[in-house]
Symmetry: D2
């Protein structure tokens, strides 16, 4: 459903509706070395310096890129739009898209950036993306999708790439490969041919036009050629579900939400967190709330590793923590 021809630098995304003649769409592809670069070059092509980028307050572009979006765009402002589950809330977005439009004293809403899957691993349905895009488009804004975990969301929805992107109103996609198997490449995919020239210049000017591009494109080709990317994503998502089932089987820990992609949030007792860390497990904890733990499963993890983690948690809960005397 996605084919890539490195020689031409062209990529095709089609529907995968069985029995129907697929709708083919040619897109423009720009391989870059990091997800930060993909997001920031994409955003810069969609916003003027005095424009604003509407995104969730907890989004990666707002918190984890050291202000790179501001740097690449010439100082555009990221404006937070609230929403549960790290997803943009349609009514909040509706209020934001026209805020102070035309007022020279204020930055002008210009692009909506949607993370699919989100930083917390939640996944927008295709309908939700369409609704957000529709709100954006009706106010003249463009739509960017941060797809660092694109494949995890895709297999969760069992949608086609086309349904989840250009058919849903996305103008430019940051197509993440690195988190799902590639070594050194992420990709900007533009569905708007009028942006191609600007993106090419921005890519070069950002120091992201590799002289030996073949080492980037070879990764893309292998990733897409025979569905490796989908197998990897299904594997990772499956491990998150396996971990969720395991945790639920233990009295004590609380699963905060059924995982949709490859991220799982649960609540663990302090002595459990401490002991897991002591055994060499690495994970974020106590960032969002005391006792809240985030586990991320990967294409490279084995099911047995997940099972071992489940047993480790179980054993921590069975063995009562020693009182501190």
């Amino acid at each position: 459903m996605v084919s890539y021809t490195p020689n031409t630098g062209r990529c095709f995304m089609s529907d995968n509706i069985a029995g129907a003649s697929p709708e083919i769409r040619e897109v423009d592809v720009f391989p870059v070395s990091t997800g930060t670069a993909a997001n920031c070059i994409a955003l810069a092509s969609l916003v003027k310096p005095w424009g604003s980028i509407l995104c969730h307050p907890d989004s990666h572009i707002n918190n984890d890129e050291c202000g790179a979006p501001e740097a690449f765009t010439g100082g555009s402002k990221l404006v937070g739009v609230a929403g549960n589950d790290t997803k943009l809330d349609p009514p909040s977005l509706r209020a934001a898209v026209s805020r102070k439009a035309g007022d020279v004293h204020c930055v002008q809403p210009s692009v909506v950036s949607i993370s699919q899957a989100t930083e917390s691993g939640s996944v927008y349905t295709v309908d939700e993306i369409c609704e957000l895009s529709s709100i954006a488009k009706s106010a003249g804004l463009r739509v960017h999708m941060d797809g660092a975990r694109f494949s995890n969301a895709l297999v969760h929805l069992d949608a086609s790439p086309a349904e989840m992107t250009w058919k849903a109103g996305v103008d430019v996609l940051s197509f993440g490969l690195t988190k799902n198997g590639a070594m050194t490449v992420d990709v900007i995919i533009s569905f708007d041919p009028t942006l191609a020239s600007e993106l090419a210049f921005r890519q070069k000017r950002a120091g992201q036009l590799a002289s030996k591009m073949r080492f980037h494109t070879a990764q893309i080709e292998a990733y897409l050629a025979d569905g490796l990317w989908l197998r990897n994503a299904r594997h990772a998502n499956g491990l998150a579900a396996r971990l969720a089932a395991g945790i639920k089987s233990i009295p004590g820990p609380e699963l905060l939400k059924e995982p949709e992609a490859n991220i799982l949030f649960c609540r663990l007792a302090p002595h459990v967190i401490k002991e897991l860390l002591g055994r060499g497990y690495q994970f974020y904890h106590d960032r969002w709330a005391s006792g809240t733990v985030r586990f991320v499963t990967s294409f490279s993890h084995a099911p047995t590793s997940v099972d071992e983690l489940v047993e480790a948690i179980r054993s921590c809960y069975v063995t009562k923590p020693q009182s501190r005397m």
Copy 2:
């Protein structure tokens, strides 16, 4: 207590403690054409592109300058620090100053920007400024003061400029003249001599080095020479107090807070707002909450104008609005 010598481009700020030998401090002065320019050049000298500027979410630099701070600083991020009354809250600031310090994935807290008086007309006490500065300095941050309404705050506190700025830890001040009587000039005052060279280059490079600087400095001289600036500010503040007293004398409107500077917030009935607008009064209303009205008094208003406004409000409340039939 402030003297300005245009020929040398030097300004002196001293304590005005009667009977004591005043403490004189030489400062660096950069006249510019707008408050936006003053704020942005000042901030740019205090923050790296990957640094963040901590300010109140409702501050002028965050909302009303079309992203100019981001433009002048090379894309620094403005990070909101909450607080009642449009003032930075010390505990919130304490949490913010060290947030993700040293983490390359995140913008680095670099400067605290305090508005004195604030956008809502509230005034920090000298002790409050000292506390905020102390929190900033202990974490290695610099302190900027947006003094668009500096003189209104000063006369409210009956403090000296020195007490309210460098003695309280302020590194660079945007000293606003335009709102209090000047025509076309605001001023950057730096208390840190090591910033002088950078500020001079930034001023020129921002298109803010006037070739006929004498027309700027003449305004500054007249403003400061015989205390005109303080008389103007006292006049404007006095009118706000007069307006507050008038409004309180009317049954119906609600004064939301005793004005500290020259800004007054009250709640008026919808038909009163409508009728005042119809009579030609201009003011912000219904921005913050339905029925909330902001009045700003000026050095150029006459007491009789305030009295007329009070009577206009009174008459609106006496005359019941006609029912819509």
Copy 3:
């Protein structure tokens, strides 16, 4: 031939061909506080960050604005185009406009900036401007005119503003007032209505939207209302011609070129330069070549001042310099 209505912020430029019905053109006007700001905001509206600005190596934007054009444009490159007399040479421009067009490794020629009059006081004829614009336009570039000395050039050519600007292909003009009589204002005039919105946001974001705009517009109105600007320019140009005639009447100094605007270059003996400086005259000397002196005449100079300068030079040449023994 130029009318300005401050209330509407609209300006009209018409032909002044006697006996004919003048062609009126509405333009967009943005008053700013310096010529640097006028040039840089204008240029930023005409070039992308990866575009280049073609200008004479000796132009003001290239040498005397501390890199402000680079700052306002997000890092566009200024590329020198050679030419005698500080004027762009058409063949050189023809080679430059298409240099590496479409090559992502190179900045893309995007705008030609013409100074009228130039830094050396030379004046393009209307035909010369048309030729340069034609070269630019045929390659898809825009045309900016740095008119810091616009009025001096205009009265020299006895042309209409329309002939020298939009009729000759100029897209945006920096209309300089300060050097010819105004106090604190220069103006961006855009002949392309599609740029108006961007220019308005750039003006605000650059800290150039004065809150008391009336003090800017009053200057513009007085400058244009009854032809003051043309009288001032004719006066200054006339003094340069008077100075030239005076210098030619003295055996010794060499007039390097008949002045066209209000700038005159001549060669003086070292002891004459030294003595004039000693008498309090201020002028650039020995910058371009040893002994080369630049005199600039102004709207505010009196003919007697010019005559006194001529006599001062004469007396220096009559009185032989004392030998150094």
Copy 4:
């Protein structure tokens, strides 16, 4: 003589003087994905936005990076310093380093960027680098070395990395790997520990901090571990010498200069250029002068390929071009 420990991100450069105890110097290392990124992040750490970068007019940073240096530095100006053989000329540099120093109207000379080897393949001697650095340092400027062909220059000089860099006054080096064997990595090496923090933030903010850094560092390790980089460079340089000898053995072509690194310039007859291109050879020609051809030899070329090229040229000259009738 260069060792790299990926686990620590530390690199050591030592003298390789036989029989002497080598002088070890720890440096800071930042792997990035392109030479453009290496140059631009390095330069940005050495110059303020209002500073200028002194470089040869024909340098790569000035011509072939689409204005990336201007983008990364916040709009610094690249100022050309002339010199034969694409090398900076010491007297020209001496004049440039203090040009308008302290004048707020002008960009301030801040860093000298030396390409080793240069765009034309010439190599600075160690003494030449020392002289340029000395001129820079005495005026307070920093020194950057664009080492895209660092290894080719190094083996030509038979110098140690230390001698050619920090011992010669270089502050930050763009250490190029890609042209000499690596796949997707170039490296910034800073000899000034005070720059490390800024470089780390700039790297992240530029989208150049790879999440799977190990795929970058593995390349660096293999490149340096057993002298592969030096063998590759010697191989490429040797092929250039072999090609030069071959060309000199043919009557007709003119070798313009003995190659120092892996770049060779010669003059070929038009019909020879045409025929070589027809046979599938790819090379730059007629860029610098009519008939001038540039050949670049690589670590991946075989000696037989060079010999075949020599014979191809020879056969073109032996076979007279058919007259066009």
